[in-house]
């Protein structure tokens, strides 16, 4: 390999990017991940629930080795009014199949661990560098530009997350419009492990996923989520950008309002905020972009619009991993022929279409719609089915 030429360059060291790079390095390709954060995981945010099925394909003993917080065994769903609320609990065993294994995670330790695994498999990481632009010759993506530097590769995988600027430069995405994104804010609250397990009736290692449908109970159009970690709680809100007048400031207030709500306050009593973060996320059930590749370039994860957001349930991590892995499979095939044209890479689009991703994205939207159906509440069995389907996002 020449100093500045790689088989593949991946922009973005989130789950999609690391998964793609890891898989390629396993097969001996020279791959470079460029991440703007100082470490992988430092710029990444999530609510907290990872369905592990896709990562388990990459790392079969993931559940034994990864820094997972708690295995989710209980699902709770609360509907709030400004002064009270009602809560339904469902046993997570209801979710079977692909969704049998899910864990609460914190991205900073989790992504860093995954990146270390990938590095050990041969992936090269450059952190603390922002990719500004792509090298495009005759419509073909040939590499990346960061500051004064250029780096070339047979193929570039854009795994740059929801605000995918480079995907726009590659002509694969339009600029994000305010009505296409929502914003989420989250606090990580520390709580003594024994107190936490007692309060949520959890055995060691067990966790809860708690979805809070707020509507206007604690902020205009805001919904919330709560996930238990080892000795912390992830508590956050999601709302439409248009509904918050001055983004940063009032997101903090929204989280505060949720923390003060009578249903939530006792759950977090005595805890201390140890982390605050905010992040954009795609709206609604999301839509897979019409094109996921061009000449010399592929999109993965949030950058490709592969996420489900029902407002209270957000799910994108396992989709990000799956798309990263499918990118890698396509690149491996193209690596054999040396053809990285859009035509050759389009087997990735087919693979995505044949995966669980579009199926789940569609199904979730339809279940969420059923929650508004009053008749549902006369039929507990059906209600539980719909709720479990919704919880799984």
């Amino acid at each position: 390999m020449a100093e500045d030429r790689f088989d593949a360059i991946i922009v973005g060291g989130g789950l999609a990017g690391i998964a793609a790079a890891y898989r390629l390095a396993q097969e001996g390709l020279e791959v470079l991940v460029v991440e703007r954060g100082n470490t992988c995981g430092s710029k990444n945010m999530t609510g907290g629930r990872l369905y592990t099925h896709t990562l388990e394909k990459l790392i079969p003993d993931l559940l034994q080795r990864a820094p997972l917080e708690r295995r989710i065994v209980k699902e709770r769903f609360s509907l709030l009014t400004p002064s009270s609320g009602t809560t339904i609990e469902v046993d997570s065993a209801k979710l079977g199949g692909l969704y049998a294994n899910s864990y609460s995670v914190l991205r900073a330790p989790f992504d860093r661990w995954l990146a270390d695994e990938a590095e050990a498999a041969g992936v090269m990481f450059v952190c603390g560098v922002l990719v500004d632009d792509l090298i495009i010759r005759d419509g073909r993506v040939c590499g990346i530009i960061a500051g004064e530097e250029e780096m070339e590769a047979d193929v570039v995988i854009l795994a740059e997350g929801v605000n995918a600027q480079l995907a726009q430069k590659a002509g694969l995405r339009e600029e994000l419009q305010p009505d296409q994104v929502e914003v989420g804010a989250k606090e990580v609250l520390s709580l003594d492990q024994a107190v936490l397990e007692d309060r949520f009736h959890l055995a060691p290692g067990e966790g809860i996923a708690w979805i809070i449908r707020g509507e206007d109970a604690f902020g205009p159009g805001a919904n919330g989520f709560l996930y238990t970690n080892k000795d912390t709680i992830s508590l956050g809100v999601v709302t439409e950008i248009g509904k918050i007048p001055s983004a940063q400031h009032s997101m903090v207030e929204l989280v505060d309002l949720l923390k003060e709500h009578p249903v939530v306050a006792p759950l977090i009593a005595g805890s201390k905020t140890v982390e605050y973060s905010a992040h954009l996320l795609p709206c609604g059930q999301g839509a897979i972009l019409p094109r996921l590749c061009g000449d010399g370039v592929l999109l993965a994860g949030d950058a490709a619009g592969l996420a489900i957001n029902l407002g209270y349930v957000v799910r994108g991590m396992d989709l990000a991993v799956e798309s990263g892995l499918l990118c890698a499979e396509t690149v491996l095939k193209c690596h054999e022929t040396g053809d990285f044209s859009r035509d050759a890479l389009s087997s990735y689009e087919t693979a995505i279409q044949n995966s669980f991703i579009p199926r789940d994205m569609e199904r979730c939207g339809s279940y969420a719609a059923q929650l508004g159906n009053k008749a549902l509440y006369d039929d507990p069995a059906k209600l539980i089915d719909v709720l479990t389907a919704v919880m799984q996002g």
């Binding site: 100082n38 090269m124 952190c127 603390g128 201390k272 982390e275």
Partner: protein, 255 residues
């Protein structure tokens, strides 16, 4: 000119959590290179860029000095090689112990003309290690250095004092501690980061260098300052009335 730059690996202050009993938790803290040390590294790299020679990065400490990310991080900033002394007794060491360990390590660093330190470590900030190291090595030693120009067998340095700039010619070998405003540190480029992994790094232990026995200083407690209770009195507006109300409130409190 052969230059040794000293650096310390410290917990990232933004990840340090103050616990309810005012003690500090470093559990979530990532490691980083002390930010003032980065100025020393940059100064060293600029000197060899101007006058030729080589820069070696030098650190002493506990297990953290063997962290591959830290090695890559220091080497991506320009030094050609890295030399570290690792021993459990050096984890969280005081200034005197650190200076003695560095003096021992310097003996293993080959020929050198100049040793550069930052103005203080990012965590303890005692501003002692540079001057103590110079004393132990018996060479000219200055701190508060805000500019260095290479000369023949010497360097010309500036020290920015209260209301004057002192210019001094210092014979080499010497130990200098540089200020945080001596330069703007560089952000490593992709190629520098990729190249860092290929540069040599040597880790020595107690078998290779003579480490100081015992410590001069013992830490008896480390606490965050107590949080003051805020009164949460808000006076909004800028009318004369409001300003008077604001002043009244402050006066009452001060009485």
């Amino acid at each position: 000119m052969n230059i040794l730059v000293c650096y310390k690996i410290v917990p990232d202050e933004q990840d340090i959590v103050v616990k309810p009993d005012q003690t500090l938790s470093f559990d979530r803290a990532e490691l980083k290179i002390g930010q003032y040390d980065l100025n020393a590294v940059e100064a060293g790299v600029q000197l060899v860029e101007a006058a030729g020679g080589a820069v070696t990065a030098l650190t002493v400490g506990g297990a953290e000095v063997d962290n591959s990310k830290m090695k890559k991080s220091i080497l991506s900033r320009g030094p050609g090689s890295n030399l570290a002394v690792k021993d459990d007794s050096l984890a969280g060491a005081d200034s005197a112990t650190t200076a003695k360990a560095l003096a021992a390590a310097v003996k293993k660093a080959g020929e050198w003309d100049l040793i550069l330190c930052g103005e203080g470590s990012s965590d303890l900030y005692s501003q002692q290690v540079g001057v103590q190291l110079g004393e132990l090595l018996g060479v000219p030693t200055l701190n508060g250095v805000s500019a260095i120009t290479p000369g023949d067998g010497c360097v010309t340095v500036e020290r920015t004092l209260e209301d004057e700039v002192e210019t001094l010619e210092v014979r080499l070998p010497a130990v200098l501690s540089v200020t945080a405003d001596i330069n703007v540190t560089r952000v490593p480029s992709m190629k520098e980061i990729l190249g860092a992994g290929k540069k040599p790094s040597t880790i020595l232990g107690s078998g290779d260098v003579e480490l100081p026995a015992g410590r001069a200083v013992e830490t008896t407690s480390l606490l965050a300052p107590a949080q003051a209770q805020r009164k949460c009195v808000l006076v909004e507006g800028d009318s004369d009335d409001k300003i008077a109300e604001f002043c009244r409130a402050i006066r009452t409190e001060l009485q």
